[in-house]
């Protein structure tokens, strides 16, 4: 019975009690001085724990706010640059797709005009077509590598 009461004393603080448990515990505490003492001790312990009042340096909050503002500006600037890069990539890809038939004909004509082998002018076409994507990919990779070095990762 005392074990049950002590369990409920802790449960009251940790999880809360049902009405039935509450009534039972109250009735028991009325009649048991030892368990009542344990209940009071528990309340004092929690009261002491809740009295925790760390001294907080207001300068720390101000410094953090300043740091957050600077970091927010950096992140927003980086996001804007990255957005511009992605837009450039998308435009480049669209233009590449649209111009591919014309470029193919131009390469074929150059190959015919200067007697260049089919394999060579086709390779030229492929290189010319993937060049923008390769440059953009390299730029993104470079930015990420630089970001990793800057953040010390």
């Amino acid at each position: 019975m005392h074990e049950q009461a002590r369990w409920l004393i802790d449960k009251r603080q940790v999880e809360g009690l049902s009405a039935e448990e509450h009534d039972w515990l109250e009735a028991h505490l009325e009649s048991c001085a030892q368990c009542r003492k344990q209940g009071l001790e528990t309340e004092r312990v929690l009261c002491a724990l809740r009295s925790a009042a760390p001294r907080f340096d207001a300068a720390l909050a101000l410094a953090t706010q300043m740091r957050a503002r600077v970091r927010a500006r950096e992140l927003n600037e980086n996001a804007a640059r990255l957005r511009a890069l992605w837009i450039s990539c998308a435009l480049s890809w669209v233009l590449g797709v649209v111009s591919a038939p014309l470029l193919w004909r131009a390469c074929a004509w150059i190959g015919y005009r200067w007697a260049i082998s089919r394999a060579v002018w086709m390779m030229g076409f492929a290189l010319f077509w993937v060049a923008p994507a390769a440059v953009a990919g390299a730029a993104i990779a470079w930015r990420q590598a630089r970001g990793a070095v800057t953040s010390g990762e």
């Binding site: 312990v45 724990l49 009295s51 760390p54 953090t64 957050a68 503002r69 970091r71």
Partner: protein, 199 residues
Amino acid sequence: MGLATSWFMRTGGGEAGEVARGLRQRDPSLMDYLIQNYQYRLFRYLLMLTGSRQEAQDLFQETWIRVLEKGHQYQPRWKFETWLFTIARHLVIDFLRRRQPQSLDALLQPNGADRPLELEDTTSASAFEQVFQGEEAASVATALRHLPPSYREVLSLRFHEDMALEEIAHVVGTPLSTVKSRLYRGLAMLREWLKDIYA
């Protein structure tokens, strides 16, 4: 009216959705508001977890920078403080991992369902003694120093932050049963340590 409260006035309330939107936009005035509003609670949590004032101060700044960087991940269905404490906790674990890499497994994958974080006890006596006031200060500080950090953590979240047990489980990343078990054990240990002064 403080600078920070102006954000609330502008958005017309403290809805989690507004916080999420502001975090996605990295709104500086929202950050000012959040830092001012949660500064004390976050610092107390970090202090309880690390037991070191200096480390708590360093991690305090890092937590807010991380909030800024990961703000787009915040979901309005979570309470902001739950998310904030989760971020802070991960930073503390990263910090401790750097300090004692050999105990990483023990830190993240405890053997057994309810083994506390096995951290090197670098808790300084002065850090907790500065926190508690009154004649019981020294005893409470001593008792806390002897509690495993994972017990201190759940006690702080439950009795300082008044978090629901489910929220604590979310922050700590453990099952509800583990949270309860740590709370009961932590409470019992604290009572045992303080029994003499209440006798």
